[in-house]
């Protein structure tokens, strides 16, 4: 049997998709039509309308603003980093620790989501790592382990923690 990585459903060997959640079992299959674009759910959540203070962002990078904490998140230099909650004795640690922002109360998993930036392609993507409370983009839950593109002023919600995605004007496509 094959176990689906997303929903733990069991399928017979030879199956190509999970019949419960629709996830593909073959990770690398390059068909043109596999980019996820989420619709914007206008007005929900209302975080989009909360103004964010100006901040200078390094070339090819983004910023994440926490409207509930009125502050920007410190992000590492890398083009790929994981958001999560740091706990003592953890073997694999997230690059960005969300514990100071009520990580536990907000339902952040230890390894919650990964942000990937590709400056050459001018694209930014989020990947939910199978977190307990899920990840949302503009209010829509995204499936685990699939890359979802982010655009300027998208509201990214990890558990109950909201983050506003800020992309420098030059790089907004």
């Amino acid at each position: 049997m094959i176990t689906c990585k997303v929903c733990k459903n069991q399928e017979y060997i030879g199956a190509i998709f999970c019949s419960e959640c629709g996830s593909a079992f073959l990770a690398e299959h390059h068909l043109d039509d596999d980019t996820v674009v989420y619709p914007r759910k206008e007005g929900d959540p209302n975080y989009r309308d909360i103004p964010h203070p100006e901040k200078s962002i390094p070339k090819g990078k983004i910023a994440l603003y926490l409207p509930d904490y009125e502050t920007y998140l410190d992000l590492p230099e890398e083009n790929e980093f994981t958001l999560g909650r740091l706990i003592e004795g953890q073997v694999i640690t997230p690059e960005v620790d969300l514990d100071p922002y009520d990580g536990f109360e907000n339902g952040i998993s230890r390894l919650h989501a990964t942000i990937r930036m590709n400056p050459k392609k001018n694209s930014i993507q989020v990947l939910d790592l199978g977190s307990a409370n899920g990840t949302r983009v503009n209010g829509y839950e995204i499936p685990a382990n699939s890359e979802v593109p982010l655009t300027h002023e998208d509201i990214l919600t990890l558990g109950k923690l909201h983050l506003k995605v800020i992309i420098p004007e030059k790089y907004r496509s």
């Binding site: 017979y12 030879g14 199956a15 190509i16 998709f17 999970c18 019949s19 068909l31 039509d33 839950e141």
Partner: protein, 489 residues
């Protein structure tokens, strides 16, 4: 060339048989026909015929000359191919799934005068709910298609509510203005008893020798039928035996899609859904023009599964997408000149015996029915057996795409099941999942419909009647191959 004189027929071979196959067939034929064994009259003649055939076919030079002079026989004008989801079955001690995509095409080009004229009965629901705009548009559409028919074509119009009424009986000659006046006189009243209408349509279609036509009943309804579903299914089976296809069109959201699917696929047809009554004209025109492109009356697929094989599901992808019931005999409808048939089979194979190299999954054959000759084409589904590889080979793109779409169609079916089991939360999550998969396939508007339906499920714990059909037929439509292949893969 008659069957007896054809060298390939004498050895019971297809014209593209390999050298090895020819030798094997010869040995088998000789065993049966040798005068030492076969004491029947004419056995010697038969034996000599086989010798003669083998002498030519086993010699490459003589064979080439023979092939050139040989007229292509009808069976050689229908070609088949099978694409599998993986190159081999695994030698493992648990069940495994394999998908097979069956392609059927005819190499024959459509001639100006079709061999088979069409013989159709249009069965119209005229119950009260059809009143107003629906009725008007239906009348207009029916009037228009009657003008598209040729002289050789036969057609009849049956209306039904609680009873059936033959509005236009099946005749050759017809007076166009009279037909139109009769259509105009239609009024909507009464209930919906589909069996009454179907039976009358069946009766009209049977008025001619059905072997000489492409026969079809087109049912148009907007409501539920009550209590006569069983009769309708029996009639569909009878129709299938006589090569009479049935297509069904549902208008609006009140009709029973599961029922219409069952009746139509039993008889090799399919059900259609339209959102706006004005699309009825396109539907009728499309259905009739498709019927006119028929190479054969009907194709039947007979599947003889090997022990330890389960046929889990069958989906026809071309010429129209429709789920079929995974039985031993499947009606596929008529083969078209311009479009291949594509059939997706999902097979479960139980652990295989250890001592075999190749496994025959199923021994199948297609029965193709034409006016002059009906013939069968053998089709073996088999795969070699190998040890399980670490990285499975991805299936061919065409198959991957079909299965990926099928998975989405199944998700909406599962959401319906979730609701029946009283699990609206699960259904909601499944719909959200489905929406995100649809988005990734670029199906934005369908994804939006699914999102809205998810919200509806959250608050009402049920599908909306419109949404349910839009999503079912929307995800079904996605399974249509993006570009229709002209030749076999």
């Amino acid at each position: 060339m008659s069957e007896k004189t054809d060298f390939y027929n004498r050895l019971n071979l297809s014209p593209n048989a390999s050298e090895k196959e020819i030798r094997r067939a010869y040995r088998q034929a000789v065993k049966k026909a040798h005068p030492d064994v076969n004491k029947q009259d004419g056995a010697t003649r038969l034996f000599l015929d086989i010798q003669e055939a083998f002498k030519v076919l086993s010699d490459p030079k003589l064979k080439e000359a023979y092939d050139e002079g040989r007229e292509p026989s009808e069976p050689s004008r229908v070609k088949t191919a099978v694409t599998y989801s993986r190159p081999a079955l695994y030698r493992i001690d648990e069940p495994q799934i394999i998908y097979a995509l069956l392609h059927i095409i005819t190499t024959q080009k459509q001639q100006e005068n079709p061999e088979l004229p069409i013989n159709i009965a249009i069965v119209l629901d005229t119950s009260t709910s059809m009143q107003g705009r629906r009725m008007q548009l239906l009348k207009a559409a029916t009037r228009e298609i009657t003008r598209d028919l040729n002289e050789e074509d036969r057609f009849s119009i049956i209306t039904f509510n609680d009873r059936a009424n033959v509005l236009i009986p099946s005749y050759h000659e017809r007076n166009v203005s009279q037909v139109e006046a009769k259509i105009n006189s239609l009024i909507a009243e009464g209930g919906t008893e589909i069996f009454q209408g179907l039976e009358a349509g069946f009766h009209e279609v049977r008025k001619v020798i059905t072997h000489n036509y492409v026969n079809h009943i087109i049912l148009i309804t907007d409501g539920h039928t009550y209590g006569d579903e069983g009769n309708c299914l029996n009639l569909a089976e009878k129709a299938a035996e006589m090569d009479i296809g049935i297509s069904g069109l549902g208008i609006g959201n009140e009709w029973n899609d599961e029922f219409l699917d069952e009746v139509t696929t039993t008889a090799g047809g399919q059900s259609f859904y339209i959102e706006h009554p004005k699309e009825v004209k396109d539907f009728l025109k499309g259905t009739i023009s498709n019927l006119k492109k028929s190479y054969s009356r009907n194709i039947t697929l007979n599947i003889n599964k090997s022990a330890g094989v389960n046929l889990l599901s069958v989906f026809r992808l071309l010429p129209e997408v429709t789920p079929l019931s995974p039985t031993a005999q499947i009606q596929l409808g008529s083969l078209k000149y311009d479009k291949p048939h594509q059939l997706l089979l999902e097979l479960l194979v139980k652990p295989l015996p250890e001592d075999i190299e190749t496994f025959l999954i199923a021994d199948a054959h297609l029965e193709i029915k034409r006016k002059k000759s009906s013939f069968t084409i053998p089709l073996a589904l088999n795969r070699p057996i190998s040890s399980q590889e670490e990285e499975p080979v991805p299936p061919p793109d065409m198959l991957y795409r079909a299965i990926s779409r099928l998975t989405l169609y199944r998700l909406q079916e599962k959401a319906q099941e979730d609701l029946k089991k009283g699990k609206p939360d699960v259904a909601y999550q499944r719909m959200i999942n489905l929406a995100s998969h649809l988005m990734s396939k670029g199906e934005d508007s369908l994804a939006k419909t699914v999102m809205e339906e998810a919200d509806h499920i959250k608050s009402h714990h049920t599908f909306s009647p419109d949404g349910k059909k839009q999503i079912k037929y929307g995800t079904r439509r996605m399974m249509l191959p993006g570009n229709i292949p002209e030749d076999l893969p």
